[in-house]
């Protein structure tokens, strides 16, 4: 005991206790609940073990897998578009010599708004009757569109909001990457006969790949847990047309009060995030290896 009190473990103890309270314990409890039919309205169900019944049900649950698939699709499209826009913005800002700092700050404005407010703002832009966009269309004699009702348009509208608010994450990370690229290889490539596109493709892009994958990792985690903007704009509706994983999970858990089932959904969804993170980290390592870092 005396040895323990003098050892390094005792110094780590406060951290271990805090981590246990805020991470491990909640994780364990939520994992436990996913093996019970726990309903918030009937506390006694917390102690009824039903094994894998929640998981078995989910595997046959059409709504869940549609939301799952939609989240993957949403993530793929949003990330790729954000990459394209972010890279474009970063390249342009990297080129200018005047007022670069001001523009860099301006660029980050969307990130400074709460996602809830972003959701509200876009909800009003896309509103059927009083929305900015439909009013604009009417001015030009174009018939207004049901932006937040039509399946395709509603999903696109949410994506527009998501991209608007988060493209600057890509832009700022890629800009940092661009500014860190050594000048010499680029000049060497110019002398070696490359035009601008060839310089970009052969030199700039390989140097930028690690930054792209870091941005992808961060944003994939963000988008996979997308909730606030969707909840504000459509609430997953109408008729589950824009249902993503987390709108479904929160409704199952808090509205339908089926916490056990909701936690089972969460555990399956987490694999999605882990898979994406793993994939992008693997790509990141590869990109770094190509550049002979480490």
């Amino acid at each position: 005991m005396k040895k323990f009190l003098n050892g390094p473990w005792v110094l780590l103890l406060p951290t271990v206790i805090v981590l246990a309270c805020v991470v491990f314990l909640p994780l364990l409890i939520s994992l436990w609940t996913s093996f019970t039919p726990f309903k918030l309205t009937r506390p006694d169900t917390l102690y009824k073990f039903v094994g894998f019944r929640n998981y078995e049900r989910l595997f046959g649950n059409y709504d869940f897998w549609v939301a799952f698939g939609r989240t993957v699709l949403f993530l793929t499209i949003a990330l790729n578009l954000e990459l394209v826009f972010g890279l474009g913005i970063a390249l342009l800002i990297n080129k200018i010599t005047y007022a670069q700092k001001t523009l860099r700050t301006l660029m980050m404005f969307p990130m400074m708004f709460s996602p809830i407010l972003v959701g509200f703002q876009w909800k009003y832009i896309f509103n059927d009757n009083i929305g900015l966009l439909n009013n604009f269309l009417r001015e030009f004699g174009i018939s207004p569109k049901p932006w937040l009702v039509d399946t395709f348009l509603a999903n696109m509208s949410i994506m527009a909001a998501e991209i608007w608010s988060s493209t600057s994450v890509f832009a700022i990370l890629l800009l940092a990457g661009l500014m860190g690229i050594p000048k010499d290889p680029i000049e060497a490539a110019k002398v070696d006969g490359c035009n601008s596109w060839q310089v970009f493709k052969n030199i700039t892009l390989p140097f930028l790949m690690p930054f792209i994958f870091i941005a992808m990792t961060i944003r994939s985690l963000d988008v996979a847990r997308a909730y606030d903007i969707v909840q504000m704009m459509t609430g997953g509706g109408p008729a589950k047309r824009t249902e993503l994983l987390w709108t479904l999970i929160s409704r199952t858990g808090y509205v339908d009060a089926k916490m056990g089932l909701a936690n089972a959904m969460s555990y399956i969804s987490i694999f999605l995030s882990i898979a994406f993170t793993f994939f992008f980290f693997y790509k990141l390592m590869e990109a770094r290896k190509i550049l002979s870092y480490d």
Binding site: A188, K190, V191
Partner: protein
């Protein structure tokens, strides 16, 4: 293979004129070295030839073509950078063949050229490695190989040896000279190291503050420096320089140093000086030797003084001593031991002294 002509070329950075209307003609197959202290405009000049910097005024002509408006890729020049500037994500082979691939050359032709260049530079065994797995010297060789494979009209070297250690630098210097003999192309080479300039160049251009001080072969610069700056810049140890004033003494001109030493003006310079003129009077270390270890020159001036420090280097010994308050250095080739504190009679060979006007800095 082409000649390069610079006509009244200027470069501005903001309000600072880094290169001031320089004229320069580089002949076909010439090895031309631009040398000068940092900030003298030599690198800017090179980068303007490469097309990496815009030419603000004047004209640059490569071969028969004015290249002012041409992109670097349209000029058919290759450049070797100080930091090698290799592409870290490509193997040595890909680095070498990159420019040819961009030019759309067939794979087997590329391989042939790469193998040839690798042979010349002795880097065959590293072809599959990445630059990170090479030593500094090997990287520099790859950088040179990358320049060779293109068979450019002009090679541009931007301080290629500054990042190497002393031993490797000497070795690579020899290799660059050999390379020039093998590939026979016009080379423009920028360095701040006068030894590199002297050993490599057919002709040297000495620059200072954006202007050309003197152009000439290494020996011309050494023997007949046009300005005080060139005189002190070329040669190691650098030329001894003493400020003095011209006075007439019994029909002959003499120089009076700041410490009051009287030194006769050499016969050949008697006609070019005038009473009261402020001059700097220079002589190289080997032209002042201890009398007992050398031959007395026909026109000499003797001075007795104490040795401050001696540096025996084997073939030569550098002796530091004072002329009044100014420390000068003497170089003798006699293998005799000289100790600090020894009092020696020095003989200065007046025929090999240089006089520079203090106002213009020009040689008299």
């Amino acid at each position: 293979m082409a000649k390069v002509t610079l006509e009244k070329v200027s470069k501005f950075y903001g309000n600072v004129e880094a290169v001031k209307k320089i004229d320069l003609e580089i002949t076909d197959n010439e090895f031309l070295v631009l040398v000068g202290p940092s900030g003298c405009g030599k690198s800017s000049t090179l980068r303007m030839i490469a097309g990496l910097e815009e030419i603000d005024e004047g004209k640059i002509i490569i071969g028969e073509k004015t290249v002012n408006e041409l992109e670097p890729r349209e000029r058919n020049v290759s450049m070797v950078f100080q930091n090698y500037a290799l592409y870290p994500h490509m193997t040595v082979e890909e680095n070498l063949g990159f420019s040819l691939k961009i030019a759309g050359m067939q794979k087997n032709d590329i391989d042939k050229r790469v193998a040839e260049a690798a042979g010349i530079l002795d880097i065959d065994e590293f072809l599959q490695r990445k630059p990170a797995q090479l030593s500094g010297g090997q990287r520099q060789r790859v950088a040179m190989g990358r320049a060779i494979v293109r068979r450019p009209d002009v090679f541009l070297f931007d301080e290629p040896l500054s990042n190497l250690d002393a031993k490797l630098r000497n070795q690579m210097r020899t290799e660059i000279k050999r390379l020039h003999q093998k590939v026979k192309t016009t080379i423009v080479y920028v360095t701040h190291d006068q030894v590199e300039a002297m050993t490599l160049a057919d002709r040297i251009v000495i620059m200072k503050d954006g202007i050309i001080e003197q152009i000439g072969t290494p020996l011309e610069l050494f023997e007949t420096p046009a300005t005080k700056f060139v005189a002190t810049f070329i040669g190691s140890p650098s030329m001894n320089m003493i400020s003095s004033t011209i006075k007439k003494d019994q029909e002959k001109y003499i120089m009076i140093t700041e410490d009051g030493l009287n030194i006769p003006v050499p016969k050949s310079k008697q006609d070019v000086v005038k009473e009261g003129q402020k001059i700097s009077f220079g002589f190289r270390a080997e032209d002042i030797v201890p009398l007992k270890f050398g031959n007395k020159p026909s026109q000499s001036w003797g001075h007795k003084s104490k040795v401050n420090l001696s540096e025996p280097l084997g073939t030569e010994t550098l002796i530091f001593t004072n002329f009044g308050k100014i420390e000068i250095v003497s170089r003798m080739f006699t293998p005799e031991l000289v100790r600090a504190g020894d009092e020696l009679d020095f003989a200065l060979n007046l025929e090999r002294t240089y006089l520079f006007d203090d106002e213009t800095g020009k040689a008299l």
